[in-house]
């Protein structure tokens, strides 16, 4: 029951990309095609689930002061594992495009954020579903971005052509395209929330994108 809840919240209500706005670098960098997005999403999900469970298992033994270093080590281990697995079994061109973003999962705020916010406080079972939900939510959001960018930028989705005459809008394949598409996705989310708030008779103020959103350090707390 509550496991399903933990799983589902990552898909929409607390979607790491669209709502929590975590892990922006991989989101922007590898969403140039649906396939890359899927690959990155899968790798991140693996790390998320693995580290969440592992951290949840050791959470009682780890003293508070070395909590973060321990979590980093655990996450880094899973990242290295996924790196090696991908080098061994994933299609080579995927490895080329995902490049250094795979090792960078280590510093992806989603992973450390979940470790801090959830796994360090909950049972391994729930943490598993939390990680899975977050991972799947991340993957879905990434794929949505990737699909839009790939379609606009190349006229294909999963490398399958939709319209033979599509003039590719190459801008979408570069960094600016990534910023634009994510920007409009977030605007869409805002619009939805403003509408919902209005229906409930409230006002919704979009979160200011600054450090008050995240609680990893003391900045922006004044």
């Amino acid at each position: 029951m509550s496991a399903t809840k933990e799983f589902l919240k990552g898909l929409w209500k607390e979607n790491p990309v669209l709502v929590l706005m975590l892990g922006m670098c991989p989101t922007l960098a590898v969403s140039s095609s649906a396939k890359n997005a899927l690959g990155m999403g899968a790798a991140t999900t693996f790390v998320l689930v693995g580290s969440n469970v592992a951290i949840s298992l050791v959470r009682k033994v780890v003293p508070d002061k070395v909590r973060i270093p321990c979590y980093i080590v655990i996450i880094a281990v899973f990242v290295t594992i996924v790196e090696m697995l991908m080098a061994a079994y994933a299609p080579p061109e995927l490895n080329v495009t995902l490049g250094i973003y795979i090792p960078l999962i280590v510093v992806n705020c989603i992973v450390l954020g979940r470790a801090e916010a959830f796994a360090s406080k909950n049972s391994p079972w729930l943490s598993l579903f939390d990680g899975l939900g977050m991972g799947v939510g991340f993957t879905l959001a990434l794929m949505a971005l990737g699909a839009v960018r790939e379609f606009l930028g190349a006229g294909t989705i999963f490398e399958l052509q939709l319209f033979p005459k599509w003039e590719p809008f190459l801008l979408m394949q570069y960094a600016p395209g990534a910023f634009f598409v994510l920007g409009f996705f977030l605007a869409g989310m805002n619009m939805l929330r403003i509408r919902r708030a209005r229906l409930e008779g409230k006002t919704y103020t979009p979160p200011s994108f600054d450090c008050s959103q995240c609680n990893l350090c003391e900045l922006g707390k004044d």
Partner: protein, 193 residues
């Protein structure tokens, strides 16, 4: 030789700008760019830390990991090195210079989880740069990061005063602006070889 380093530096600052072209370090780029003052502090801190970590990780890579054939451990070793270094620098700063700590130190915790720092170390490792080259590359990249951050922060301060539609407020407008900035920076492509 000089040309090579010049190309490396120009490339890292302008052409393959960490934020605008390689898309690394986006979290602090968006997070601390609301005020010019914080952007400056963060920029300074990143330049300092990235130069330091670039040097140290390159040392470890060349004199520990490569000889022992342990390159597959680079991610975990680098991140631990960065975390440890940042911690030590923070403590030292706090001890040695209060004003410097106020100006730069408070940004240090933000740096551990910054893609740009680990990213630059890994790029150096994967491109087999020498120790000197790694250090130069990392500090140039950090300068590029700081430049982008500074520009972006000043533009954002201007946008703060604009009449942005409600649904675009906050992160959305920041990303769209970053997009235009990134577009402008593509003009530099091809510079520095």
């Amino acid at each position: 030789m000089v040309a090579e380093y010049f190309g490396l530096i120009v490339g890292a600052i302008l052409v393959n700008n960490f934020v605008l072209s390689r898309i690394l370090g986006i979290c602090p780029f968006l997070g601390v760019s609301r005020k010019l003052s914080t952007a400056l502090g963060m920029g300074g801190a990143v330049i300092f830390v990235m130069t330091l970590t670039g040097f140290v990780t390159a040392l470890v890579q060349h004199y520990v990991l490569l000889p022992l054939d342990l390159m597959y451990l680079r991610t975990i070793v680098f991140i631990l090195l960065i975390a440890g270094l940042v911690q030590i620098v923070e403590v030292l700063l706090q001890r040695l210079s209060a004003p410097l700590y106020q100006a730069l130190g408070i940004y240090l915790p933000l740096i551990t989880t910054n893609c740009a720092v680990l990213g630059s170390a890994i790029i150096c490792a994967d491109s087999h740069y020498s120790v000197i080259k790694s250090t130069v590359f990392c500090s140039a990249s950090a300068v590029g990061f700081a430049l982008a951050l500074l520009l972006f922060a000043s533009v954002r301060e201007k946008i703060e005063l604009a009449r942005v539609p409600r649904s675009l407020e906050g992160p959305a407008i920041a990303l769209l602006t970053a997009g235009i900035l990134a577009m402008a920076f593509t003009g530099f492509s091809g510079l520095g070889g």
